[in-house]
């Protein structure tokens, strides 16, 4: 496939996309509000379905004449959609600041602000999910927020891998036929679900048909060449409005419509296509055999889809944009992996996906490669070529770490575990039958430790926010300290779980999602919406923040304070309370006189694991609102920066307010002094049951490493060892520090420079300065 190139069409479309201004849009909010106002007597589920259908019928659409894959949820590219059902109080507060806020800016139209304030916001006050949660439990959620950040309070829960193969097999018409059949024989309590389903599927058909009509309306004005390709696209749109796809091009178009509509329904982050190379292969193979397409054409189509993945972003509130900076919309695609019998597999579509990433180097899709002991040299080398290009992709997942853990720890059926996919950044899911509720909350162990050391009082605000179980001045032994820490953790787990129930209940009430439910197995069968537990698997994932700092802090406390008594416990408490001002010698000792996580020192590595394992074990005591289990993950996205802003000085020698370790499983930056192999060894000590919701490990390499064949081969060796060590995830930034520094000074010269933030790639110049600095500081491995 070395001869395949990027066509002019793709370059042109890419430039258009990168140069399009990004606005906030209230168009969908206007339609939804109107439907709600006109139909006050309908149930929320019906209102939701009807408003989606109406949006699909009415929203303004557009097509670029060069496009081979069409469709978007707004006419403008990368627009931020205001979505009132989930929440718009924050929009009311932040609307004017959208163009100037530090992270994820959007332009605004003054008339939109006015219309929003006059006609939209007043209607939703107290009715949106955001307001309901705030009214019911806002105070409690705020009170715990420095330790436990509850997520999904003002937007729908995405992070879902729909059953794309089913969608491609049946199309909206076929699904509708199924729903109609069910409606004839269903119980009374299922009736509304099926009626809603039929309504939204009708909308989906209309939406596709409208694209055909739109193209007809612009056809005359186009150049001859574009006319020809547009006619093909138009025919596909008309065809797909009535039929499931037959050909590769149709399949890609159909798939894109699915994801556009999912975004229109939920306005949530991360609907992920999953194992595209597996379910698209039959289409590719058939077209290739009949001579309908060659690899160059197939690649161009895939690259068109890749561009579309970059055209949807997601409007978050200011705080959330800090935690998830740079639009991680999470079109995660997993290639390679295992087949239904558990055997290693890949095909030509896998290689085409890599090629498309090699050419485009854009933040989306979030391309992942599933590795295992049987992964072929070919797939490895092609993937490494893309890594060397420096877009931070693909990231790698380890079947050897994940599959068996899913089966044993989450009771997932083997064929579902073999077929796992990734949603969003690094969150693991089964394919097409799971509401995983990833990242339900983030639990900050370092804040919990701070409260344990300081009588339950916040070091930053001096407020009493945790239990007063004593302090570093009173714990006589390390064991005393551990006992108190355990109680503090228990207390916040309990608080977190109460809040989780409130949030999930509000989702059921406010955001039933009929369309999504048609592509999540068993919802249609059970006649039950996905938010109510219709999916085959119903999980909730809690993130543990940040085990690296925790391990370093506890190791310092144990060794320097309690075992060797090099530091006096009262003095250390004072040092922490004063953010080490006047206590520089103590801080220096904390940093230097005890080994750190990430250097292959088993006892230190285990200091953190122990508490993560305790936490994971406690999760078994709880059941989520849909009746499924809780589990855990270790991935922070960009949250290590704001999470660090919540934590005072810590016994690992870290100053107050500074970032925590990045990633989730990564060592604290600058403390991994023994090279990448030692990091991998340390990380491998984390039990895989801790990361069934996903784990994240960052590494940075210099581009020089990949210059020679021997370098490429050594990188493969490193990856194969990663597989053997059963670490669930790894990702690489391959970039020169100087380029990043230059991009800070001259953003205009580096507009398309992409960087791995944490489980996702973003444009470097679109990140806030603080996060840019933090990424620059991460340790780089070169020719050691």
């Amino acid at each position: 496939m070395d001869h395949l190139y990027q066509t002019k069409r793709i370059s042109l479309l890419k430039d258009k996309m990168l140069n399009a201004p990004r606005y906030a849009s209230i168009e969908q909010a206007r339609i939804i509000t109107r439907v709600y106002k006109e139909n006050p007597d309908l149930s929320i589920a019906k209102k939701r379905a009807l408003s989606l259908k109406t949006v699909l019928e009415e929203i303004e659409i557009g097509v670029e004449p060069e496009e081979l894959i069409v469709g978007n949820r707004t006419k403008g590219v990368r627009y931020g959609v205001v979505f009132p059902e989930s929440g718009c109080s924050w929009v009311n507060q932040e609307f004017e600041s959208l163009p100037t806020r530090p992270q994820d800016r959007f332009l605004i139209h003054d008339e939109d602000v006015k219309e929003f304030r006059e006609n939209i916001f007043p209607f939703w006050q107290g009715k949106s999910m955001e307001d309901k949660i705030k009214n019911r439990y806002g105070k409690e959620i705020d009170a715990m927020s420095k330790v436990v950040k509850i997520n999904q309070k003002d937007h729908a829960q995405g992070h879902i891998c729909p059953d794309s193969s089913l969608w491609l097999k049946l199309g909206p018409q076929g699904l509708m036929d199924q729903a109609k059949e069910k409606l004839n024989t269903c119980r009374e309590d299922q009736r509304e679900f099926y009626e809603c389903t039929i309504m939204v599927l009708q909308g989906a058909c209309t939406f596709m048909h409208r694209y055909g009509q739109y193209i007809d309306s612009i056809l005359d004005k186009q150049s001859l060449q574009n006319q020809e390709s547009l006619k093909v696209v138009r025919n596909h749109c008309y065809f797909l409005a009535k039929n499931p796809p037959h050909h590769f091009h149709q399949a890609l178009q159909s798939l894109w419509f699915l994801f556009v509509i999912l975004h229109m329904e939920s306005n949530a982050s991360s609907f992920s296509p999953g194992r595209m190379d597996q379910y698209l292969y039959p289409f590719y193979k058939k077209d290739k055999e009949t001579g309908l397409i060659d690899d160059q054409q197939a690649l161009e189509l895939i690259e068109c889809l890749w561009l579309k993945f970059n055209e949807i972003v997601y409007l978050r509130n200011k705080n959330s944009a800090k935690y998830f900076a740079g639009f991680p919309i999470g079109f995660n695609i997993a290639i390679g992996g295992l087949d239904q019998n558990g055997k290693s597999t890949y095909n030509e579509v896998s290689l085409l996906c890599l090629k498309a990433q090699y050419h485009l180097g854009l933040p989306q899709p979030n391309l992942s490669v599933r590795l295992n002991k049987g992964t072929s040299h070919k797939l490895m080398q092609e993937a490494i070529k893309v890594v060397a290009k420096g877009s931070g992709m693909p990231q790698f997942f380890n079947d050897e770490a994940i599959v068996q853990t899913m089966i044993h720890d989450l009771n997932i059926e083997p064929q579902d575990a073999y077929n796992y996919a990734i949603v969003g950044c690094v969150e693991l899911t089964t394919h097409g039958n799971n509401l995983g509720w990833s990242d339900a909350a983030m639990f900050n162990f370092n804040k919990a430790l701070e409260l344990t050391l300081n009588h339950g009082k916040c070091l930053l605000t001096h407020q009493q926010i945790g239990l007063d179980l004593g302090g570093l001045d009173t714990y006589q032994t390390y064991h005393d300290l551990e006992r108190a820490f355990k109680k503090q953790i228990d207390y916040f787990i309990e608080e977190m779980m109460k809040a989780e129930q409130v949030v999930e209940k509000a989702h059921q009430e406010c955001l039933p999602t009929a369309f999504l439910s048609t592509v999540i197995d068993d919802c249609l069968e059970k006649g039950l919406d996905v938010t109510r537990g219709g999916a085959k698997y119903n999980l909730s994932g809690i993130q543990m923040i940040q085990i690296a700092n925790l391990a370093d802090s506890l190791a310092a406390l144990k060794k320097l304070v309690y075992d060797e008594k090099m530091i006096d416990q009262n003095e250390l408490l004072k040092a922490l309370q004063n953010d080490f001002k006047g206590y520089e010698v103590i801080q220096t000792m904390l940093l230097n006189k005890v080994p750190k996580y990430g250097n292959d020192v088993a006892w230190v590595d285990k200091m953190g694991c122990k508490w993560a394992e305790y936490f994971r074990e406690r999760m078994k005591d709880y059941t989520n609102y849909r009746g499924g289990p809780y589990h855990t993950g270790m991935y922070t996205v960009s949250a290590h920066v704001p999470m660090g802003e919540n934590v005072g000085a810590s016994p690992d020698g870290r100053n107050a307010l500074t970032p925590l370790a990045d990633g989730g499983m990564s060592p604290v930056y600058g403390r991994d002094l023994s090279g990448p192999t030692a990091v991998l060894k340390s990380v491998s000590r984390l039990n895989n049951s801790l990361t069934t919701n996903g784990g994240l490990l960052n590494m940075k390499f210099l581009p020089e490493f990949f210059k020679t064949e021997s370098g490429m081969n050594k990188f493969e060796i490193l990856l194969r060892a990663f597989v053997d060590l059963q670490i669930p995830h790894i990702q690489f930034n391959v970039v020169r520090k100087e380029d990043l520094l230059d991009a800070k000074v001259h953003p205009e010269r580096h507009r398309s420079l992409t960087i791995r933030v944490a489980g996702y790639t973003a444009y470097f110049v679109e990140l806030a300065g603080k996060l840019q600095d933090e990424i620059i500081e991460r340790k780089t491995y070169d020719n050691i």
């Binding site: 010698v585 230097n592 006189k593 192999t677 030692a678 081969n713 060796i717 194969r720 060892a721």
Partner: protein
């Protein structure tokens, strides 16, 4: 020096530049040569010595409080280390910044082997352990013991050596080595003595033995090219000729000059003997040197 413990000044994991695969390089302390361009001055002395890192020091002066017999003095805020024969154990322990630390560490066979084995999972496809220095044969009995242990555990072993050692030790080590990097730096004995402090004859004798033995295919002979010293056509030509006379299929490698080592010297009582004006050789110049080698008829020249 007993075999029970070796003095090691560094253990570098993920060494990917010398040898095949991913390697762990163990740097033994002590060297009989005094090459003017030495890249690892920290490996020259056979003694364990305290060193002081100015840039790490936070000037808390804890060390002064523990100093005995003028081990440490403070001149205008600058710390100096004296009297290295006193134990610095307590001071090293106490220094909060590790600004005063020992330059090397003693390892038993088991301790060192544990360090090597830590990266075993990465040693596939030709990776393994490399023993370097200093001159590993300075601690010969220990070296042979650790080589045996590695071989018993099927770990690929490589050695970087000046070959300035006894032939008996070499003979004992050879069966347990998979790869030997042997330096032949300067052909002319007078010049060799001038630049390295020792005669080249012993090195040539040892090399002659190895290149005629059954172990000859394990060897890669190397010459580091030092501007104004050994990087001359004549030197390279003589070495090449000498090598092919011993074994026509000999593997030979020229190493480009690396000027970065000079910065390490300020920590040690040695002076860097190459003028600061010299940089790495250009690709054209390297090609010229390669041609000199190839013209002698040497076939297996390794070119990066």
């Amino acid at each position: 020096m007993t075999t029970s413990k070796a003095l090691v000044f560094d253990i570098k994991r993920f060494a990917v530049h010398d040898g095949f695969g991913i390697r762990t390089t163990v740097f033994f302390k002590g060297c009989p040569l005094r090459c003017k361009w030495c890249q690892n001055p920290e490996g020259l002395s056979i003694e364990r010595e305290p060193i002081y890192f100015k840039n790490k020091c936070i000037h808390c002066y804890q060390c002064l409080k523990l100093s005995r017999h003028g081990q440490i003095d403070n001149k205008n805020g600058i710390i100096h280390i004296h009297n290295h024969h006193e134990s610095f154990e307590e001071i090293v322990q106490a220094c909060p910044a590790n600004a005063i630390t020992y330059d090397s560490q003693y390892y038993t066979i088991d301790e060192l082997f544990k360090k090597i084995k830590a990266d075993e999972v990465f040693f596939r496809d030709g990776g393994g352990v490399t023993f370097s220095g200093g001159e590993p044969f300075m601690q010969g009995p220990f070296l042979i013991e650790i080589l045996k242990k590695c071989k018993a555990e099927k770990i690929h072993t490589a050695l970087e050596t000046s070959l300035y050692t006894s032939l008996d030790l070499i003979k004992e080590a050879l069966p347990y080595l998979d790869l030997i990097y042997a330096d032949l730096k300067v052909f002319d004995d007078d010049l060799h003595q001038q630049y390295t402090g020792v005669s080249v004859n012993r090195i040539k004798d040892n090399l002659s033995y190895i290149l005629r033995s059954i172990h000859r295919d394990k060897v890669i002979v190397r010459t580091p090219l030092i501007p104004s010293m050994n990087a001359t056509d004549e030197n390279i030509k003589s070495i090449s000729q000498f090598l092919i006379d011993l074994y026509p299929n000999v593997k030979y490698e020229l190493l480009n000059y690396n000027p970065l080592a000079s910065s390490k010297y300020e920590l040690y009582n040695f002076t860097y003997g190459v003028s600061k004006q010299y940089k790495m050789f250009t690709q054209e110049k390297m090609q010229h040197f390669y041609n000199v080698v190839l013209q002698t008829g040497l076939k297996n020249l390794i070119i990066e």
